[in-house]
Each structure stands twice: as C-alpha cells, then as structure tokens.
Symmetry: C2
Subunit: 416 residues, 2 copies
C-alpha cells in the first residue's frame, strides 16, 4: 500500500514555512502499514495542482493533500479537486452545522458568506468533520484509489488524520505491519561505525533495511522492515539488535523511544524512579527545558529551569561566585559545575544539568573560543563536567550542546 503526500501552498515554496505536516502524516501512515512513496510540495496554482494529482495517481494508491482550503481567494484546492474529478461543489448540511457551531462557540461575530461557502464540497466526496476549524476534510474514492484533502493548519490536519483518515484507511485496506527500530550511538563517526559493524550489516536478512542517520554528535542506526507477520518481524529485528549491540557496547546508548526522542526516554526513567530534574542554561537559552516541557507529564519530574544568559544573572540569581567567574571566566568547568550544583539546590531537585558556553558568532563575556561549551551534571553524590568544542555555527553549537546535555543526563540517570 503506497501513499503520496502533496502539500499545497506558496509559503512552502518560498521557504516562509517549514513543512512539518508531511512528517506527521508519514509517521501516522507508517504506524498502520502504509508506506509513503513520495512527498511533493507545490504552489497554489490550478495547473500545478492538477498535474501533481495526476502524477500521484499514476504512482500510488492513497493521495493525501494538505493546504489551500481556507476561505480566502488564494485558497483554490477545493475547486481544483472538483475540476480534477469533473465534479461540482454542493452544500453539505452537516458541514454547515459544524461551521455554525464553531462560529457560535469561538468567534461570536456574524457568520460571513465565505465561511458558509466552506460547507461546499465536491458532490463525489465524503466530508471529514473538522471539529477545530471551518474547513472540512474530504475523502474521494475512484477506481480503488483514495484521494484525501485536508486543511494545512497543523493541529486541524492532525486531528483529522488521527480521528478520520487513519481509521478509514485501516477499514478499507488490509495493510502490512511496518516496523522501525532506531538505536542511538554516541562517540563514533558514521564511517567508523560502518566499518565496525560491516560484517553484521552484510549478513542482514534481505527484508531488513539499515540506515545511518548522523545528527550533531550522535548517530542513529535504523532497522526497518515490513510484512504481515508482526510477531515474526519483531523477533527478526530484535535478533539483529542483539547481534549488533556487543559490537558497539561502549558507544550504544539505547533504543530511541517509539515517539522518537531521548528526552522522552529520560522523562520516563525519572518518573519511574520518582526523581526530579532542574536545568540551568546559558548558551542553550531555554532549549533544554523546552525539549522536556513540550511533552505532557513533565510536571511529574521537572522542577524548573533557569536561563542565566547575562553574566550578572549567573551571580545574582544562580549564586555563582563572582571570584570564580573572574578567575576562571564565565565559560569554564567551575562555573558550569556551580550552575548545576546551585540549580539543584535552588529547585530542590535530585538531578540538575547546566550548560555554559559561547555559541557565537562573536565572543561574549568570556575569552573562550566560539563553540566552546561546558556541560555539568549535579547529583546527590556531587557534580562533574565536560568540555566540548562544537564548531562555529551558532545553531549547530546550540543543538549539539542540547544533544550532549541530554546524552550526559541519560547516561547518569541510567547508571542507577
């Protein structure tokens, strides 16, 4: 079962908006056994949309479009889809009721004609009720193929995928099971890792595919397979994981959570241990805290964080000693360690992690080279830190520092 995702909107083609919808849809489809063959982003242009639909129809079974369903004149997806199916737009009463109810609840001004017109859908389509917005999703079948059109607003699209598209696809097709397992490996470059596991890789069974995903100081090694016997596939992949781990024993940091992130793994472990965390950030500027608080359930273990960006905040708020800063500079192991120690004390947490460094592009309150970062971990047993140089691109330095802080934290927490 193959799908293509078509994201429609000039904002994507001029780089004003990053297309996050496709990754969400692809992940949800994979979970129910649908492989995404291609993702295509196109303009709000009639001929281009018609061409993309025809191309996709020739390649795949399921076509999911997002975008271009708003009430304004630049939104042309709906009428173009009607044209593609040689169809007309007709008023759907259930959709109109939904629009009126949303309007009453959230907007409270008079419903405009353009909003009423959002209840017009191709006569050959079934509406997918959008409880979060006025643009309905649409589902059209033709010759065993399915065309789905969804609004581009991410949370509206996501709810429609979860509550309508996924159940309907599962209902209609007998999909295989798709399995991805991703191992996290620290401290080995892509080629060194490949050399180390070469014999294992060459002996992988044909139905298991391997991918290397290097990313700012960590490697992810993904095994993928699909088929109809879930138990067998799971055991085949597990067998390969068990074989490769001894080859990367010291560098292996565990399996990536199904939800895909180290912070979720840490969060689960902290919650399990009943332990708490505090964070003191300088160069990472809140990004470490944000990685945790994005996920629900953070209040179970996350006590709080301090972003002491200015040097005087480090002394005034985080009680770092002025003498230490003068003696060792603000980018130093001493300062990182006292940030972690004091954050742990201030927030009364079991663990604390701290970052201080110079993300560039210019030198700050310290003479440290751009890219220098110290990361410290404080526990009830004491505090330790490590020094890194993450190069000279600001975004890269920040992201690498965040990844490294999570890595150190993960290692510390899984010691127990």
């Amino acid at each position: 079962m193959l799908a293509e995702i078509i994201t429609i909107g000039d904002e994507l083609l001029i780089g004003q908006v990053v297309d996050t919808n496709s990754a969400f849809i692809a992940k949800q489809l994979n979970k129910i056994g649908v492989s995404v063959y291609q993702i295509t982003s196109i303009q709000d242009d009639k001929q281009h949309i018609l061409q993309a639909l025809a191309d996709a129809e020739s390649r795949v079974d399921i076509i999911i479009c997002t975008g271009g369903l708003g009430p304004t004149k630049d939104d042309i997806t709906k009428k173009t889809i009607a044209e593609y199916f040689d169809d007309i737009l007709v008023k759907n009463e259930a959709v109109l009721e939904n629009i009126e109810s949303i309007w009453k609840q959230h907007v409270r001004t008079q419903l405009l004609q353009v909003n009423r017109d959002q209840a017009l859908i191709p006569s050959k389509s079934k509406p997918l009720m959008n409880k979060l917005g006025t643009a309905p999703g649409m589902w059209i079948e033709r010759d065993e193929k399915v065309f789905i059109s969804l609004p581009g607003v991410p949370y509206e699209m996501q709810a429609l995928i979860d509550h309508h598209v996924v159940p309907k696809i599962k209902d209609k097709y007998n999909c295989p099971f798709i399995l991805h397992k991703t191992m996290i490996v620290y401290g080995l470059g892509e080629s060194a890792l490949a050399e180390r596991i070469e014999a294992w890789e060459d002996a992988l069974p044909k139905h298991i595919k391997l991918a290397y995903l290097p990313n700012l100081g960590k490697m992810r090694l993904r095994l993928s397979t699909k088929g109809f016997n879930e138990a067998q596939l799971r055991s085949d992949v597990q067998e390969q994981i068990d074989k490769v781990i001894p080859l990367i024993k010291t560098e292996y940091a565990g399996l990536e959570d199904e939800e895909g992130s180290v912070e979720v793994v840490i969060a689960k472990q902290l919650t399990k241990l009943g332990s708490t965390l505090a964070i003191a950030e300088s160069c990472t500027g809140g990004a470490v805290a944000e990685r945790f608080t994005t996920h629900p359930g953070a209040s179970a273990y996350f006590k709080g964080g301090l972003v002491t960006y200015a040097t005087d905040s480090k002394t005034n708020v985080l009680n770092v000693s002025k003498t230490d800063i003068e003696t060792y500079s603000v980018v130093s192991s001493q300062v990182a360690e006292s940030m972690a120690k004091n954050a742990r004390q201030i927030f009364q947490s079991d663990y604390a992690v701290a970052t201080t460094g110079n993300a560039g592009p210019t030198k700050g309150d310290s003479q440290a080279e751009v890219g220098t970062v110290f990361i410290a971990i404080a526990t009830k047993l004491g505090v330790y830190s490590q020094e890194f140089n993450f190069g000279n691109s600001r975004i890269k330095v920040i992201n690498k520092a965040v990844n490294k802080a999570l890595e150190m934290l993960q290692k510390e927490i899984f010691k127990n």
Copy 2:
C-alpha cells in the same frame, strides 16, 4: 528562472525527520530571484532518484538535490547521479585533500577507505568544497540546465548554499528580483480580515500576489512580486501596504522582519532602546526564552529567564506568595503578574514577560480548564495581564501562548 528541490532520504518518507533543508534553500534562492517550482522528497532508491531527476529536468532550469552522500551503503545518490549522466566516478585530488585536512583536525583516527572514496565524484561535475564535512557538493551543467547535489546534514548544506551555490547561480543567470513583504495582523480571523480588505484586494495590480497565512492566533498577510526593476517593485508594494494599513489600523502589528520572526523585531527594538528583558515561564517551559536566544546578539538585551514549572519553584525561586497561589490558584492573573514583577526584579531588567497556564492534556496543580493561560507584562510603570483560552491540544496551547506573549511584548515595547 525556476528551480526544483529534491530531498533524498527514507527518514523523510517515514516521518522520522522533518525536512527543514527545503525551506532554507527556497528562501536563499528567492533572495537571488530564483523561484522554486516544486519540492520533492524521495527515497534512497535508485529508480526513484533517476525518475525524480528526469521529471525535474523536464520542469525547471535548476535542480538541487540534498542527501544520500554519506560514506555508508545506504547512501546511493552520488553513483545514481553518475548513472543519470552516463558518467563515471573519478578521484578529485582537491576534495581528497579537504577530507584529509578535516580528518586531521577533527577526527584524528586513521582515514578509512570509505572516507577516501568520498573524494570520488562524477567526471562531468565540479566539486563544491565542503569545509564542514567529508561529503563534497557537486555542480553539473547540461544543456543550459544545472544539477547540484549537496549533503543532507543541514549546516553543511547551508554553508555550501551560501558560499558556493548562491554565488555561482548569480554568476550564471540574469535573475529577476523577488520581493515578499509580510504584514502581521492580530485579532482578526481569516475571513473577517478578507472581508475588511476585499475592495483593496480586488484592486491589487496584476503583478502583486496576496496570500493569507493564519497561524495560531495571528494572521500574516503576504504580498509577493517579481521583476527586473527592484526600485519600482519596492515602491509598488509599499504603495499597497500604505493603502491597506488604514483598513486594519487597530489590528496591524507591523511588518514581519525580513528574517521572518517577531522575536527578531522585538530584539532589534530592545537593542535600539538599550532596554533589557527577563522571562518567567510556566506552561511555555522555556520556549519563549528559546525563541530569543536562538538568534545571535541576545546577550545585548536578554538578562535571563526562569522556568518555574513546579508550583513550589514558583514560591521558592520566583518568590510568588503562597497565599496568592492558595487563594487564586497557580493559573491566575495574580500569579502571572507576580511572576512577571518578580522576574523583572530578580534579573534587574526593564521588561519582563510571564506565562502561567495549563497546556494539558490533564489538569495540573490548579483547577483551571485545559487551555487556560495567563500572560503578564511587567515594566517600570507596573504590571498587567490577560487571560486566554487556547483550546485543548498541548502543542497548540504552548505555541499560541508563546505567540501571544511575543505579541503582548511587541505591543508594549513599541508603545515607546
């Protein structure tokens, strides 16, 4: 001049990685007058790559591929490109030297054969020297069309775009000037805005295109045009902006910065005023601070932030009164206001912004409905707050709260 971006990698098609490369490339191309016609994400599969190259060649003048250039077996882009051009791979000495120098500087172990092999490039290509990694970019011309292959690692790709691809395209083609201007509008829905400005929209000159970009509580209204007379285009667009502003006087919040974000506008204004900022976050968990510290130059105005996620951190660290929390609950205007006031005091800043709310999915330490958020602004003149309900999707609540906090801050700072 039309371009297509082809991003290659199974990780994109299974939703493991969001494709941020395309937006970066599209933005840089737009700046030099190249329009992106389509973005296509495909698998690490020979037939698929060959097909996508042929399709793109039939549509556009410039084809930029990213991904699949690593040293491991799952990376097949380079040899597939050689096949597409009926070419062979040959060793490039300059590339090999670059690889050896990177290896000596950063890796310090022995250079492996697979890394040496990264110096093999199609004989018809010119290498684009990658100073940040071992995979070279490649530039191939055929029949007035250009094919560019770049590594998928974002910072390597970005440096190659900025230092090689953009200058070479500017050199080769006489590109038009592309102009986008985006107005930020708060407090008007898409359809209400469209109705308000309908007459203006209908009278827009043919060469100026309008787009509505709704996003979590704010609207962006983008005017786009292109042509060869930059001064004329700038004045045409400015004329339209001057005409529409009186129609949306109270809702208009200024032009989006060319770099595309409200926080950059705020940062510039704070720096200009010589004023400083502190942030106290509960439900937004560090995301507001992170929006500012991502950009260089934050140390000029950003004193620091507190993420007081747990209720006891609000009292212990941010000195919010226990009685207030007991009387009004932790999600209340009283608590938001004292968070802002105390953050301003603790960090000794001119302005402070604070968020407290319940992002869900379940109720926390307060009985407040999921989605309820209070945002407060403290200045030297006092403190004020507003209550919001941002619905019941966690990510949506957090993002809307961040946007709203930035909006309130922007309005406050531009009062002066």
